[in-house]
Subunit: 178 residues, 2 copies
Amino acid sequence: MKRIAFVLVPAAILGALVLAFTTSVSRYATAQGAAPTFVKKIPAGYRDWKVVSVAHEAGDLNDIRAVLGNNIAIKAYREGKLPFPEGAIVGRIAWSYVSSEENNKVFGRDQSFVAGPPTETYLQFMVKDSKKYAATGGWGYSSFDKDGKPTDEAAMKACFPCHQAIKDRDFVFTKYAP
Amino acid sequence: MKRIAFVLVPAAILGALVLAFTTSVSRYATAQGAAPTFVKKIPAGYRDWKVVSVAHEAGDLNDIRAVLGNNIAIKAYREGKLPFPEGAIVGRIAWSYVSSEENNKVFGRDQSFVAGPPTETYLQFMVKDSKKYAATGGWGYSSFDKDGKPTDEAAMKACFPCHQAIKDRDFVFTKYAP
């Protein structure tokens, strides 16, 4: 019994050391832009989040969207605080932009455009973690289709360069609609 | 003391009778379309409600809108249950539909339409109370400008006739966007 205890204790310490070392290396790599800038997991409960604003993107996107925020993001938005605090997540759901025949019939004219089926980049999120995503302004970007499949990484490389245009608002395009 | 008690008890009974009678008359009047079908109070906390869907109304309305629901309404929507249960409230916030110069500059083309200032009928709600609003399909309608001022009653008379077109879905136009 004494020998087993002797082996187990150092193993636990070794495990902790390896973990600490791995974390440290991972953070260093991220800061150098060599490691994860894309998030591969859909945040739990996003469909229950509060509304930041809504928008219609015409052209190739041709969607109608709701921009939502988790509680950390919404609080910062409402208080007008920038940069967004750690843990803030801004998400957007994009549905295809479709004319509603049903509504138009009632109105007597073509005026109503509603949310249709999910678009190819149905869900997108920006996750604030200044250390982990230091290489991309402190935000990790993610994008998913309706089945939860992440958008391919080549396309994801366009996120940050585009969001850089709005660096003054901590890289977040959408303003809070009161 | 005995005399006071004698007077008080019948007064309480009388009060209860008057209340019962008034309620009965009020319900009868409502059922005849002669009493309150319009709601004059903005539901507390509506801005924190969950998203039902989003839409763009072109034409005279020219708005972009978020349709939200209180917890009772959202639960019914998600379970696909009709009619909506008592206490359900469906709300919509309508912002003016504006082109975003800022976004368009980044995209390099005119494609981005966002939420601008509140419209004249900024907030609208349908409140489910089958008895109180029996004359209008069990829903009480309300509408407010950005300062919380109710829309005038003449205009409000158009709510129910229009929503009647969608009686099959319990008078609610907006479908839940998953």
